[in-house]
């Protein structure tokens, strides 16, 4: 699809200032080469990520490759390159991937891209992205919950069921350690029943057997009053 010459691009981009400031979702364009250098980034995308344009360029190296979270890069780039149409005018490619915000948090974006060939033969990806973080969170949570329910209703032994549940929780939160503790003897004692540690994290299960709950007074008191508690350092 040929739409405009290279020198026209910046002029056209200036003419869409209204959309840039008001369009509900980020959009950007980048070169369809190995680096994927950005030629345009919308204001809404910068606002979504918390960057100024200078900060964005520095954080991403001003390339699409640098924009995508490294763990998602192979899949995302592979899918885009495989799906990006080179001969069909009206074909689009789409994929989800994570990007890092200025504050360090990751968000999920859904990417709808269109590969366009300019008059001089330069190929550009024109892309619209929307934040699907909440949707992904619900989807992931549901999938993990279903995996746990399946495990608990399976004919697998109790030990196996608990290990499967712990594995699902561990995968969902990607923590350093995931545990199931039981409290017994009228709430006076507690012990670690199951533990799942990340690679390189030592087990402390043996240290937490038949322990008096008095040693964890405020912690236990909070658990008595709430469905969950969050401990921050």
């Amino acid at each position: 699809m040929r739409i405009m010459g290279p020198t026209d691009v910046s002029i056209k981009m200036k003419n869409i200032d209204f959309f840039n400031k008001n369009y509900p979702g980020g959009f950007f364009a980048y070169k369809a080469d190995d680096d994927g250098e950005f030629v345009f980034v919308s204001k809404f995308l910068l606002d979504m990520l918390g960057y100024t344009i200078e900060e964005f360029k520095k954080a991403t190296g001003n390339t699409f490759n640098g924009f995508v979270y490294p763990a998602d890069r192979p899949n995302a780039l592979g899918k885009i390159n495989a799906e990006a149409p080179t001969s069909k005018d009206n074909a689009f490619n789409s994929c989800p991937y994570r990007v890092k915000k200025k504050d360090g948090n990751l968000i999920w974006l859904h990417d709808e891209g269109h590969l366009v060939t300019l008059d001089n033969g330069t190929k550009l990806h024109f892309v619209v992205v929307i934040d699907i973080t909440d949707y992904k969170r619900v989807l992931t949570s549901q999938s993990a919950l279903i995996a746990c329910i399946k495990a608990l209703s399976s004919s697998e032994g109790f030990e196996g069921q608990m290990k499967t549940v712990l594995e699902s929780v561990f995968t969902y939160y990607e923590g350093s350690r995931c545990v199931i503790h039981s409290i017994y003897n009228g709430g006076k004692k507690m012990r670690n029943e199951y533990e799942r540690c990340a690679d390189g994290v030592p087990s402390i299960s043996n240290l937490l057997q038949n322990v008096s709950t008095k040693n964890f007074g405020p912690f236990i008191d909070s658990l008595e009053k709430h469905d969950y508690i969050m401990v921050r350092q």
Binding site: L106, S141, L145, C148, V165, R177, C178, I180, H181, I183
Partner: protein, 61 residues
């Protein structure tokens, strides 16, 4: 559970879905049910292998 704390599930240093407490809360219900079921099964097994009246009679002075 039912006003009585019988255990907890904990995650140390989560790196994703940090604000999704509902997942752990929901898992807690199912784990509680599974633990109760497991305890009842153990109890039934023990009762099927041991005559409680005899045991009581044997342990009482």
């Amino acid at each position: 559970m039912k006003g009585k704390l019988i255990g907890f599930i904990g995650v140390a240093n989560p790196t994703q879905n940090i604000t999704s407490h509902d997942f752990l809360q929901n898992i807690g219900f199912f784990v509680y049910d599974a633990m109760q079921k497991h305890e009842i099964n153990d109890r039934i097994l023990a009762l099927s292998l041991k005559d409680e009246l005899t045991v009581i009679a044997m342990t009482k002075p």
